[in-house]
Each structure stands twice: as structure tokens, then as C-alpha cells.
């Protein structure tokens, strides 16, 4: 299987990472070599195998319905690259 330039561009769009043509070509090459190594998995028959998504040997812990976080707006906004005192600020959204 090969990943073409168009696919690389599509993935970069989905990832919200802009990428120029030169970089895209280089990346395409890297991805192809990584995926040809990944293809090895096709040797295995996993028809009857259950997928494993979590390895933690425990059950899902449940929290009580209690309010424990107070107003920490200052902390929340402190690291923001562009903000006013109440909000996060981002460039105008175009639909």
C-alpha cells in the first residue's frame, strides 16, 4: 500500500497541521516506510480475537456528584496567548 500526496494532504488537514509540498513529499516517504513495516500485522489471523483497549486491571471508578472545583477563572485564563479578563479569545470563526 502506498500513501500518496493527496492522502498526506488530507491527513494534514484533519490534523490541523499545515504542510507545504516539499514537507508533504518527505512525510509521504516516511509514512510509506513506516506503514510497510506496520503491514506485518496482516500475517496474523485475528478473526476471533477480542480487541484490547485498556490494560488497567481495575473497573471504572465512579465519582460522587459533588462540586469541588471553585471559580479559578484567573488560573484558567493565565496561560492563554490572547485573552481578555473573562474569555478566551480566538480569531473570528468563519462557517
Amino acid at each position: 500500500m502506498t500513501i500518496d500526496l493527496k492522502t498526506v494532504k488530507h491527513i494534514s488537514k484533519l490534523s490541523r497541521i499545515s504542510i507545504d509540498d516539499n514537507k508533504a513529499k518527505k512525510l509521504g516517504k516516511d509514512l510509506n516506510s513506516i506503514f510497510s513495516f506496520i503491514e506485518k500485522l496482516n500475517e496474523l489471523d485475528t478473526k476471533n480475537t477480542e480487541p484490547l483497549s485498556s490494560i488497567a486491571e481495575t473497573t471504572l471508578k465512579l465519582r460522587k456528584d459533588e462540586i469541588k472545583s471553585e471559580n479559578i477563572r484567573e488560573d484558567i485564563l493565565k496561560n492563554s496567548p490572547d485573552k481578555n479578563k473573562d474569555f478566551f479569545v480566538v480569531p473570528k470563526v468563519v462557517e
Binding site: I11, S15, F37, I38, L44, L52, I55, P91, K92
Partner: protein, 485 residues
């Protein structure tokens, strides 16, 4: 008296408790040596002034019941530290100052530890040589222009160079054990769920685990005991009784069954590594342990599985770095343009590569072929270990397929870089504990490690086996302080 920085962690604790040393003396000694060692580039952020202040405060009212009484310690910059810059080795978090403390570093602070700085690492822990850090390469103190391993490369370098008496790293596919092996130090990756992930910058949530890096197994046991805790803030944290790993440390391995997986004898593995392994096997036998040949048939599929699972989780975990709430932002015409530029300029090449791989394997039409397939193979790999542990108590393997390589040597070949983790990755996939201890040198004089893999939550057994090996190997790291002279 010998140099303070030459002392092991347990020795320092002892001397402070006996009032032979003060916290300030110890802290200043490590800071002085760190300042002379800038060439290693082990630190991303130096917290020296603050640390000395804290040490002096400790000395005024010392609490000797603490397990790390006024002990200075530098930590990997993947742990969020309250009011101390935390970057994960990335430009995208260049100026990020958390208002909160990770559970693991909080545990260290609670026991009297003092943070002297944040250590370099591969960007978002993605790398095996510390070459992907936005803050530059880290030198391996073993030899100039040698990588210290990765991703906890700043940690392994700082530890081996005695800039910190012990340190902590994170291990997603080998990021503690491989750098430990490359620098002649001890590194433990605990069982998944043993150390809380709260406040650690996430790479791959189902694989990440924090662990100690130390000069010897005793120090490692102490650090692990402090780091491991049940945490209600992490849904994958496991509630079980934590032992006193240090007090229980015991070199007696009589009757222990140690598995040797035949699949780990890979083609092209240097002879020295084979010999090292044989040496380990011999020591086990001489000490009354029993060697059992075992098979982990799906070993060869671990790395491809890992390179689907880890990037998939990472692609999603790193979506939050979008220039809105914290960190770097690039100017954009509109929201989407801002996202694309911020993430393009804020992330380095390796991180972008892995985000792309992860995005691809999860995307519509490929999920079943890649991600679901990998999850199934992950089950098979775990089953291999479950089977093996019906017959053995622990497993012994080399830590890495080679010794440390030169800076730049593997930079342009991602796959050969990934192959570094061939012996460590299966353990993360199975969620098991494993320790790497220094066991010898190759002919260039570079350290090599042996890995002991345990059953889930049976860290005590692998610490004990490692302790026995360590006693019999009496490894000596020949580090010459070349970067200071």
C-alpha cells in the same frame, strides 16, 4: 569524605537523617555540578534559587521522618509542576506554567523532596535519542556526541552525570529503560496503574507510566515506593496495597523461575549483547534461580502494534495544543488558519509525523485495518505473557538491541530509530513492570543493560532479581567528566 554528588540516594538520605549533611549542602552540591555541566544540555529549566531557598527552610525545621528529607531532585519536563515552567520538550508549550502539580511529583514533594529543575526529553516523549526536543540534543556523559537514549534522555544524562541523585521519567515504549541502559543506570517502568498519570503530559494514555531512574536497585526501590500511589484523579489508577519495596528488598532468588524468551534472540544483535544475556543467565543459576525456556510468539508484532496504538492515542491527546488555552500561538487569518499554523510551527517533525500516523490509522476506512487490528494483536501479545507467567516468575532479556549510538546517526531513518524499542515495547503493550539494570559494556566501552520483566504489580520480585544481578555483576560506570574539563 567523598564528594557529595558521588553518593547514592539512600546514602544521602541517611547522612541527612544523621545530620552529617544538611539539605542546603546537598542541594548546593548538585546545583554546582549542574552549573558546570551545561554542555550536557540536560536541563530545560533550572529552579536553583528556589531550590536553595527550600533547602534552607527545610534545614531550619527538618523533618527526618520523611523519605526524601530535603533531597534535591531534577525531574523530566513531562511532569507538570506548580508554578514551574513545564514544556514537554516542545515549542508549543514553551511558556507554559502550570497552576497544579502532578500526583507523582506531589508525592515526592510530600516526602520532603526539592525540585531543582526540569530535565530535557524528546518532544512529548516521542523519540529514543532525545534528538526531537525543541530544546536541543542532550549529551550522554559516557562519551561526547553520544545520545543518552530517549525519551527520558535529560533524566538519564543528568543522573549518570550526577547532576541529581535520582530522577523520574516516563515510559511509553521504553523511554525509561532504554536511556537507563544507554547511560549505565537503573530504570523501572512500573505496572500500568501503579503510578498516577494525573498531571503528566500525555503521550499515549494506555501505555504511559511514570517510573524512577537511579544509580542502583536500592535507590530505585525507595523512589518507586514514594512515586506509586492510588489516585482517584486517574480513572486507570489501581487500588492495591503498596509494599515497602526498600525494606522488602532481598537478593535471595533461590527457586525463582526465570523465563528466557527465544524470540528475543534477534538477527544481527551484537555478540556482546548475547554474551551479556548469557552472563545474566549464569548469575541466576549460580544463585539458585531456575532458567526456563519460554516462547512469546507474537513478539515480532509488538513494534508494528505499538506504532499504531501509540500514535493513534497521541493524535487525539495532542489535539488540545491548538493555541487557544495555553502555549504557543501563531497568527492566523481565521480560526482554522490559526490552528494549522500554530500546530505546524509549534510541533517538531517527529511529533507531526506521529500525529499524522495516528490520524491516518483512525480515519474512516482505515480504523478496522489498522487500529482495531492493532488492538487485537495487543490482546495476543498480552496473552503470550499470561501464558508465560503460568510457568515462570519473571523474564530476563536484554534491554536494548544495541548500545548508545552517535547523535544524528539514526535521525533520517525513523524505522531504524523505532527498532531501538524492540525489547521494551511489548512490556508496555501488556502493561507489565520491567526494570533495566546496567550489566556490562560493549567493546566501545558503552554501557549495556539487562531487563527483568515481572508479573503485574509484582515489582518486588523484579527488584529482588535485579538486586541479586546487580550484586554479582558489580557494574562500574566509567564516566570521566569530559564535559567539565
Amino acid at each position: 569524605m567523598s564528594n557529595i554528588t558521588d553518593l547514592k540516594l539512600v546514602e544521602l538520605v541517611d547522612k541527612i537523617k544523621k545530620k552529617e549533611l544538611s539539605s542546603a549542602e546537598v542541594t548546593i552540591a548538585f546545583i554546582n555540578r549542574s552549573q558546570k555541566s551545561k554542555k550536557l544540555n540536560a536541563y530545560i529549566y533550572e529552579n536553583y534559587e528556589n531550590a536553595i531557598k527550600k533547602a534552607k527552610i527545610f534545614d531550619q525545621k527538618p523533618d527526618f521522618k520523611k523519605k526524601l528529607p530535603g533531597i534535591p531532585i531534577a525531574v523530566k519536563d513531562l511532569f507538570c509542576t506548580k508554578n514551574i515552567k513545564t514544556t514537554a520538550g516542545s515549542k508549543i508549550l514553551e511558556n507554559f506554567i502550570p497552576t497544579y502539580e502532578s500526583t507523582v511529583t506531589q508525592n515526592i514533594l510530600d516526602e520532603g523532596g526539592i525540585i531543582i529543575g526540569k530535565l530535557n526529553c524528546d518532544e512529548f516523549a516521542m523519540g529514543s535519542s532525545n534528538e526531537t526536543s525543541y530544546f536541543g540534543n542532550v549529551q550522554n556523559p559516557v562519551s561526547e556526541n553520544l545520545v543518552p537514549g530517549g525519551s527520558s534522555g535529560g533524566s538519564s544524562s543528568a543522573l549518570a552525570a550526577k547532576l541529581t541523585p535520582a530522577t523520574i521519567g516516563t515510559d511509553t515504549g521504553g523511554s525509561i529503560r532504554q536511556p537507563a541502559s544507554f547511560t549505565g543506570t537503573v530504570g523501572l517502568k512500573p505496572t500500568y496503574g501503579s503510578c498516577s498519570r494525573y498531571g503528566i503530559v500525555a503521550f499515549a494514555s494506555s501505555l504511559d507510566q511514570a517510573g524512577p531512574m537511579t544509580h542502583d536497585v536500592k535507590d530505585c526501590s525507595l523512589m518507586f515506593q514514594i512515586m506509586s500511589s492510588y489516585d482517584t484523579k486517574d480513572s486507570t489508577s489501581v487500588e492495591f496495597k503498596r509494599e515497602n519495596y526498600l525494606n522488602n528488598l532481598n537478593e535471595n532468588i533461590k527457586g525463582k523461575k526465570i523465563g528466557i524468551p527465544k524470540e528475543y534472540r534477534v538477527d544481527g544483535m551484537p555478540k556482546e549483547i548475547d554474551e551479556l544475556w548469557e552472563k545474566g543467565i549464569k548469575i541466576i543459576k549460580e544463585n539458585g534461580g531456575q532458567i526456563v525456556e519460554i516462547s512469546l510468539p507474537n513478539t515480532n508484532y509488538a513494534l508494528p502494534t505499538y506504532y499504531i496504538v501509540a500514535p493513534a492515542e497521541a493524535s487525539s491527546n495532542l489535539a488540545r495544543y491548538d493555541g487557544v488555552k495555553y502555549g504557543f500561538r501563531s497568527k492566523g487569518e481565521n480560526l482554522i488558519d490559526m490552528y494549522e499554523k500554530t500546530r505546524s510551527e509549534g510541533f517538531g517533525d517527529e511529533v507531526k509525523r506521529r500525529i499524522m500516523i495516528g490520524t491516518y490509522v483512525l480515519s474512516s476506512g482505515y480504523y478496522d485495518a489498522y487500529y482495531l487490528k492493532a488492538q487485537k494483536v495487543r490482546r495476543l501479545i498480552k496473552n503470550d505473557f499470561d501464558e508465560a507467567y503460568k510457568k515462570v516468575d519473571a523474564i530476563l532479556t536484554p534491554s536494548t538491541p544495541s548500545s548508545a549510538f552517535k547523535i544524528g546517526e539514526k535521525l533520517n531513518d525513523p524505522v531504524s530509530m523505532y527498532l531501538n524499542d524492540i525489547f521494551t515495547v511489548p512490556i508496555n503493550l501488556a502493561g507489565l513492570p520491567a526494570i533495566s539494570i546496567p550489566a556490562g559494556h560493549d567493546k566501545k566501552g558503552y554501557p549495556l543493560g539487562l531487563q527483568v520483566i515481572g508479573k503485574a504489580f509484582d515489582e518486588q520480585s523484579i527488584l529482588n532479581i535485579a538486586f541479586a544481578l546487580e550484586k554479582n555483576i558489580s557494574f562500574k560506570n566509567n564516566i570521566t567528566d569530559w564535559w567539565i574539563k
